[in-house]
């Protein structure tokens, strides 16, 4: 992770020929936002959120009879963001008791919560059972615990089996769920059937993250569909849904990428085409065509999030390269460890550009937002907008050295609303005891 930084020479792909300033977000001036709410400041565009989910829904629902989106809480569990997705008809996909409670408090009915993840404890499962949520079993210990709880609570758990499989991508994620190819998955299913105390409702797989090949989903969907048909044949149970997980790429640019993400990532339609094709080819019985459940998070929210930061200072490296320090660093931009985030100045600038290393404010050498980025000359106090930060940053951010800043949402009607207040001294120290 820690690499020597050398920002003096342009890479082989050259520097950007030009970048355009980003003066406003959804019509609201960046400077006015900074004035009102201070920097750093996260901004979420409600318009873009809804646009994304509607586009995704259209891509899938025009290809398959029944499609359900479950909002992946870990991607961004701000209530305002979750509720926007729930309003658009999305369920909740949670991976912890904390997220589960959050989904409930957002008014999601228990049976519209998908409980995933490798670490569900007893209390979490009890809660999920009482609300008849869909529990995606990750391991055998969880399965046995469910059997035990079903007896204790006198209820029928509604479960799906999480399957891992080889869809032709590397690395093969085999840490979650049961492997399909070596028979673990079938073993888990037959255990569920022989216990007979729970309902097998679906199958789940999640082949990886930021998958740049839509074909992989076609392979995975075909394998799962075939598995579903096998289960139907062997046990007489037709699963009601197949959950293809998430992992669709957003418009971000991975660090190793030669071209920018927006140019090489498959579109929602590409993913939909592959999955739908595989489903339509599968020999499902009449009236048994399963619903498709999707837990895509990143692709729906990434480009709806922006971070406004202001320049603290400019410096020169020992070699003479330019360093710019801004007031938002890896404490807020966890994703900058693997993305080259697009950065735009928020004011007009001269024609002079220079390769720059963009640092955050932390007193840590790793606090680098961009190792090299071509930026115009900036003054102290100038604003920068970091793009595509909607996914993971607002959940994986750290209270480290500084406090966490405000988050505002620009509503569909153009209004601005504070959706999470900046942390205060008390918020952090309140929990401490001497």
């Amino acid at each position: 992770m820690i690499k020597p930084i050398n920002a003096t020479m342009p890479g082989k792909s050259g520097t950007d020929a030009y970048i355009s300033p980003m003066l406003d977000i959804d019509g609201v001036s960046v400077h006015s936002l900074a004035e009102r709410f201070g920097t750093p400041l996260f901004v979420v565009s409600e318009k873009q959120l809804r646009r994304n989910i509607r586009m995704a829904k259209r891509a899938f629902s025009t290809r398959l009879p029944k499609v359900v989106f479950a909002w992946s809480y870990k991607t961004n569990y701000l209530d305002a963001v979750c509720r926007a997705f729930h309003q658009e008809g999305s369920w909740a996909e949670v991976v912890s008791g904390f997220e589960y409670d959050k989904a409930l408090s957002n008014g999601v009915p228990g049976d519209h919560i998908v409980f995933n993840g490798p670490s569900k404890n007893r209390e979490d499962l009890e809660k999920a059972l009482k609300n008849s949520s869909l529990i995606h079993i990750d391991n055998l210990d969880e399965l046995y615990m469910l059997v035990e709880l079903a007896g204790e609570l006198q209820c029928r758990p509604q479960v799906a089996v999480r399957v891992n499989l080889n869809a032709g991508t590397l690395p093969v994620w085999d840490r979650f769920g049961f492997n399909l190819e070596n028979g673990q998955a079938l073993d888990a299913v037959s255990k569920i059937m022989s216990f007979g105390c729970m309902d097998l409702r679906g199958l789940h797989c999640h082949i990886g993250t930021f998958i740049l090949s839509s074909k992989a989903y076609g392979i995975a969907a075909q394998k799962l569909a075939d598995f579903a048909c096998d289960i139907r044949r062997l046990f007489g149970v037709a699963v009601e849904y197949i959950d293809m997980g998430g992992g669709f790429a957003s418009k971000n640019t991975l660090k190793a990428s030669y071209l920018v993400g927006a140019d090489i990532c498959p579109s929602m339609d590409d993913y939909a085409e592959e999955i739908a094709d595989a489903f339509h080819k599968a020999p499902f019985g009449k009236g048994e065509f399963p619903a498709l459940l999707l837990e895509t998070g990143r692709a729906l929210v990434d480009d709806a999030g922006f971070l406004i930061a202001s320049v603290l200072t400019n410096k020169r490296s020992a070699q003479g390269g330019r360093y710019t320090v801004m007031d938002a660093g890896v404490n807020l931009l966890f994703t900058s460890f693997w993305y080259n985030h697009k950065i735009s100045p928020a004011q007009l600038y001269s024609q002079h550009f220079e390769n720059t290393t963009l640092y955050g404010p932390l007193c840590m050498n790793i606090d680098v937002v961009r190792e090299q980025v071509s930026l115009p000359l900036l003054n102290k106090g100038d604003l920068l907008v970091v793009h595509n930060v909607g996914a993971y940053n607002m959940t994986q951010w750290m209270q480290f050295i500084t406090l966490r800043p405000n988050i505002v949402m620009i509503e569909e009607n153009g209004g601005t609303k504070l959706i999470r207040e900046a942390e205060k001294f008390d918020d952090v120290t309140r929990l401490e005891r001497l």
């Binding site: 290809r63 359900v68 369920w91 679906g202 339509h280």
Partner: protein, 728 residues
């Protein structure tokens, strides 16, 4: 066990007798039958003869013919009633009478069987022809003997029935017309007695307001006609023939034909004709010394009905296909059910795609859907911005609908396929290969053409069978298509691009703002439509066909057991035996509908019928739906009587059904489902009564219905009993 069967048979048999009597006035009411039976006994001997004849014929048909429901409905009995009563009137008690009662019962029965076989196939009733033939046969014989009491004499004698004497004063008070009307009614039972007539008239009014009205109307027109000719011309007392007008008017005006202005006009128009037939037939039969009786009613009614049957287009006058218990019901059911249930008798055509598409060009469209090709639809997908494409629309892949799956609109055999035509660039056209790549599907007589598909995308071959909803190709831009869209039409021939056929689509969902509404028929231009995503769990909730029975209990009506049954026509119904209530239903996989309710309304079944009148079996989206009840279920009272009377001409009362399904969240298979429905009655547009129902179901089983009416409310809870298949 045996006892129960015997009891049941007895019960059914008594019913068959009573219904034989009420059938005289085209009624199925046992009470009315009992009243008529009593009236017939105002002359005890003829009453007894009528009953004996009826019993004999019903017994014969019960054991000889294998069609009990018909026997129970009095189908064979009413001719015997007439024959028996007539014999009792014409003959004194004695050996001859006994012989003739037995013999003519048999004759009535034989003639009925023969006439039924000749006429039923043509959809015609035999009316009282069997009685006429039998009576004429007997009268011809009696002319040889001294036993004939005499026709003319009978009236003066028997009119002095016991009760009749007390009420003979009544006749003096009544105006002439009313007296004649009542006498004519009683003459149907071979009496000329105002009091008997009054009883019959009251019974008729209780049974059906419309029938009463039509009988009075027909009679009044005839009476006026008779008075116009001053009676002298006809030299027969009006009372002797007046009943013909009553019966014809009821039969042709409101029983076999759906009552309306037109049927009323026809009733009037048939009066002069009936006079002609009455007097010419009495002249004809006088050569044989036979009376004409109800010959006129039979002949004129049958001729008229035959004309309606043969007519291809009946104009405004409609024969009642489903004859219900009363003309009111027939009318109300015909008015509502025709619309409501039309889709059950035709091949259902779905939209040929998944998801929401917009009708870019509908029927009689502005671009190409004209003349012979007017009944077609063009569909596209709109984006967030209202445009059909993303980016600048210069590439085919910018268009949202391009490459989207196209599905078969019905189960079909693939008739022909073309898939080699290149897709046009946006804005370009290919008029030489007008239809581009297409799939032509066939189911029976119906063909569907789906075209402008993407090159090489067709997923079926000619001769292959495809099922509704199966992907058959991808939307493209080939042929006469400037921008990607899907062209869809129904036609009657296997020729590509032949004349289009106006054929309604099966139920679909139409977006109206944030709302989704259930519709069927013809989507209009710019409608945003999608197929109904069927919820298997809701299907299961309303799939009563798999059940044996349902126990429904509430505080208000106690506990009821509903059996799930099917009648001879395969129509399913819930049968609450202890209360004598039945509710017919259909579940076509898209909607659950109650078709009809019959019997006791003070029952859980009645409220369940109201609550689930029409349920869309879809819970993936939020939807609303409206429907109309037939007026048969209107609240009884003065308003209802008025509405019944005016119903053939004017409907001021409306009974509406509303249903809605909760939140917008996508569903896979919810364990618990809630629905809210409403039943509203309004008079002249003003709401007078409304009921709200909250239906809830758990684990694919209906659990409760909460009924709220104003301040009062009660809960019906359900327990289902499934079939247990035993192997013996």
């Amino acid at each position: 066990m045996n006892k129960a069967i015997v009891g049941l048979v007895r019960m059914d048999f008594v019913t068959s007798i009573l219904k034989s009597y009420s059938s005289v006035f085209f009624s199925q009411s046992r009470l009315f039958g009992a009243l008529l039976l009593a009236v017939s006994f105002s002359s005890p001997l003829s009453g007894a003869c009528g009953l004996v004849c009826c019993v004999i014929v019903n017994l014969l048909s019960w054991f000889m013919l294998d069609c009990k429901p018909k026997v129970v409905s009095g189908f064979y009995g009413f001719n015997a009633v007439f024959a028996g009563i007539a014999l009792g009137v014409f003959l004194p008690f004695g050996k001859v009478l006994v012989w003739l009662v037995l013999a003519s019962s048999l004759l009535v029965f034989l003639i009925e069987v023969w006439l039924e076989s000749r006429m039923s196939g043509r959809g015609l009733p035999f009316l009282v022809f069997p009685f006429l033939i039998t009576l004429w046969t007997v009268l011809l014989l009696l002319q040889q003997t001294d036993s004939l009491v005499g026709f003319g004499m009978t009236f003066s004698e028997s009119s002095a029935s016991v009760l009749g004497r007390f009420f003979s004063g009544l006749a003096e008070v009544l105006p002439n017309f009313a007296e004649e009307y009542l006498k004519s009614l009683s003459f149907i039972f071979f009496q000329v007695d105002v009091f008997c007539g009054l009883l019959i008239a009251c019974g008729l009014l209780c049974f059906s307001r419309i029938a009463s009205f039509f009988s009075l109307f027909g009679f009044a027109v005839a009476y006026l006609f008779y008075s116009f000719f001053d009676g002298g011309f006809f030299n027969v007392p009006f009372a002797y023939v007046g009943f013909n007008f009553i019966l014809t008017s009821v039969a042709v005006g409101c029983y076999f034909v759906i009552p309306s202005w037109r049927s009323l006009a026809w009733c009037a128009a048939l009066v002069p004709l009936q006079f002609l037939v009455i007097y010419s037939s009495s002249r004809l039969f006088s050569y044989l010394y036979l009376p004409t009786f109800s010959f006129t009613f039979c002949l004129v009614s049958v001729l008229f009905l035959q004309m309606l049957r043969l007519k291809e287009r009946t104009g405004g006058l409609l024969l009642a296909d489903d004859i219900m218990n009363t003309p009111e019901e027939t009318l109300y059911e015909a008015k509502v059910s025709k619309k409501r249930l039309a889709d059950l008798s035709r091949l259902c055509v779905s939209l040929p795609f998944y998801g929401e598409w917009r009708v870019m060009q509908g029927h009689d469209g502005q671009f190409t859907h004209k003349d012979a090709w007017r009944y077609a639809w063009d569909f596209v997908i709109d984006g967030e911005s209202g445009l059909q494409y993303d980016e600048d629309g210069s590439k085919l892949s910018d268009y949202y609908c391009f490459g989207k799956p196209v599905t078969a609109p019905f189960d079909a055999v693939v008739e022909s396929v073309v898939e080699s035509v290149a897709d046009n660039e946006p804005g370009c056209d290919n008029l030489l290969q007008n239809w581009g790549n297409y799939v032509l599907l066939r189911n029976g007589e119906l063909y569907s053409l789906i075209c402008h598909l993407k090159r090489g995308s067709v997923k079926c071959v000619a001769g292959q069978t495809v099922l509704r909803g199966e992907v058959i190709g991808l939307c493209g831009n080939s042929g006469h298509s400037l921008y990607p869209h899907l062209h869809f039409q129904i036609q009657k021939s296997p020729f590509v691009g032949d004349v289009t056929l106006k054929y309604p689509l099966d139920g679909y969902l139409k977006r109206v703002g944030e709302d989704v509404r259930f519709q069927s028929g013809y989507p209009a231009e710019n409608d945003v439509v999608r197929n109904i995503p069927i919820a298997e769990n809701l299907c299961k909730v309303y799939n009563f066909a798999d059940l044996k029975s349902i126990m429904a209990s509430s505080e208000k009506f106690g506990s009821e057991r509903w059996l799930v049954r099917a009648d001879r026509y395969g129509a399913r119904y819930l049968d609450c035996e202890e209360k004598g209530a039945k509710a017919w239903f259909v579940n076509d996989g898209k909607t659950f509908r109650f078709v009809r309710f019959e019997g006791c309304r003070r029952s859980n079944l009645y409220y369940f019928f109201l609550s689930s009148y029409k349920i869309l079996l879809c819970d993936e989206v939020q939807w609303t739906m409206e429907d109309e009840f037939s007026l048969s279920v209107q609240k009884r009272g003065v308003v209802a009587v008025l509405q019944d009377l005016t119903a053939p001409f004017f409907v001021f009362k409306k009974l509406r059904f509303y249903a809605e399904k909760g939140n917008n969240m996508a569903k896979i298979a919810e364990k618990s489902i809630t629905l809210r429905t409403e039943f509203r009655q309004s008079v002249f547009g003003r709401a007078i009564d409304s009921l709200t129902f909250d239906i809830s179901a758990d684990n694919s089983v209906i659990s409760s219905v909460k009924v709220v009416s104003g301040t009062e409310s009660f809960v019906i809870s359900f327990v289902e009993e499934r079939f247990v298949y035993e192997i013996k």
